[in-house]
């Protein structure tokens, strides 16, 4: 992959409108040299997959604050696989520690909790992308 600028799709899936975190993450990833495509609020798994295909994205990031992660996270992961995309899905937001393992078992590449530093955010996204590239 080399000099390819990493391209990340960020979106809010479903009804949850808490967008403070995802907007900050968008700027952090941009500052780190990535290309960020923020789809905005009220996206569906279909609209996110379509955008990822169209933009040839390297990763998808979802932000979840309404305790819907155990339902919507795996649903999104399934939709990505069903579309034949091999890119990591990262979830950020309010996710209790004990749910992280379950999410990881359903195909989510990484979970970023509240208080993650900018460095952690960037490293998590980069690691998830390179793990997929090596696989």
């Amino acid at each position: 992959m080399g000099d390819h600028q990493q391209r990340v799709i960020l979106a809010k899936l479903g009804l949850d409108g808490h967008d403070r975190g995802i907007k900050v993450v968008a700027r952090i990833l941009r500052d780190a040299g990535m290309e960020v495509i923020y789809l905005g609020l009220r996206q569906t798994t279909a609209s996110i997959v379509a955008a990822a295909e169209e933009e040839d994205a390297d990763a998808i990031g979802l932000s979840m604050h309404n305790a819907g992660h155990l339902t919507l996270g795996p649903k999104m992961a399934e939709a990505i696989t069903a579309a034949g995309l091999d890119i990591p899905l990262i979830i950020g937001g309010i996710v209790p520690d004990e749910d992280v393992e379950e999410l990881m078992n359903t195909g989510i590449a990484a979970v970023l909790g509240p208080g993650a530093s900018a460095e952690e955010v960037v490293a998590t996204v980069q690691d998830a992308i390179s793990a997929r590239d090596k696989a």
Binding site: D19, Y38, L41, P114, S117
Partner: protein
Amino acid sequence: MGTEENQELNARKAWELEYQKASLRDSNFETMSGVPVEPVYGDDLFPGQYPYTRGIYPSMYRSRLWTMRMFAGFGTAEDTNLRFKELLRNGGTGLSTAFDMPTLMGRDSDSEWSLGEVGRAGVAVDTLADMEDLFADIDLSQVSTSMTINGPAATLLAMYVAVAEQTGVEPHQLAGTIQNDILKEYQAQKEYIYPPRPSMRIVTDMVKYTTAEMPKWHPISISGYHIREAGSTAAQELAFTLANGFSYVEAAIAAGQNVNEFGKRLSFFFNSHSDFFEEIGKFRAARRIWARWMKERYGATDEKAMLCRFHTQTAGVSLTAQQPEINIARVGIQALAAALGGTQSLHTDSFDEALALPTEDAARIALRTQQIVAHETGVVNVADPLGGSPYVEWMTDEMERQAEAIFAHLDDLGNGSILEGTFNGIENGYFVGEIADAAYRFEREVNSGRRIIVGVNEFTDGDNPEDRNLLRIGAETEEYQLKRLNDVKTKRNQEHVNSALSEITAVASDPTRNLMPAIIAAVKTYATEEEIANAMEVVFGTYVEKAIV
């Protein structure tokens, strides 16, 4: 004696007269050591006097403590009903309802959008049947109820009126507040259904209806809370909130309402964050600015229509997921700032809210925290105890100065109308851009270590994630609610539903008619929230925000 001294003397005399009329709580009003204290200190401006910088009542908390209003709602309506009764038994004095995301967005539990969200972040309400369960065995003529809902606010208010009617309680007996502040949805919270202009028509219809039928009801709670949570500064929270207030006033005046009538029924909702003096300055400035604008710009002559009454909630966004128990200290400090700022009601956040919805224990600790402020600290004995402090007065002036600069920008944007300036600011991304910039600045400071958040970027030892006991809402809530909705749909008279919905669409198409009676009629047929939302959507359209980072 100079004129100035005369005025000061007159101000004191006028205040004393008002204070003597007030009934006081049964208390000695002395310190813990037995030193008696005056109801207020200082010489020039007194509480209850225009522009109310020092408080809206002459006797403030000596007459009545703030209402301890704890926001609650999760799972099914029956679950939340139990929590309500528990809060009332524990000395809570007002009910406050949190609805789940589908309810807030005007979606039914069986909508495909609702998957994974039913009953999670609040209570699920689809039809009047859920509202009947929510308020079962609570005498609605005796409590004051706050409902936090905006996009579909008219429908939820209609359901509340209908439930009350079933138990023989008339609309004029109902006391409470519905948030119904749609403008801040486009700016911060993002729970809108229709575009801004038709949404303002619904709000104005509700103002008209409640002004005529529900004199004890506050039809809008103009809310800065969410603006702050979304990342704004204190001054932006103050300015955007009051500007939204001016917008509702301009819309109501344009609709022929009397500013002295509906002005009395407006109330506000602010955030109390951790920067202690900035918050207190913000609360004081809010009262002063609101009074001046209502009087000077909008021509209010009744003093009650100039009062900035407000509810306060401690800052959820300040709570940390790391070492969550230390959030109890943050909440205590924020609650104290709200009391010193003269709030009329207060919700204190539970320490576990950065992790999940609060457990019953955490909610109890939060209530106890504000009870300590009210009953142990003595701050309730003296009105505006920090008034006259050079720093506090300077901070109040500074908050006002920053807010006025923002009003001038919006006034300019709207060619002399704050309402049009606000519509334009929503359209051109001004509000969301300003808020996102402020949020990012804050995160950079935390990330660089220039701003210390205890437990997050400093003092991080002692976090024990394995000890946490969090509230979990299982899938059974969703299953129960889907069955309940299906049962209601099966039993209701579909013809009645259909004709009530058609009537809503007809009224929506005619801006001279008020939507409230048609919505009340529809909820009584057990039409669902989403059906009612759709009946208006065919006329009003929907709103999609441009995704701006």
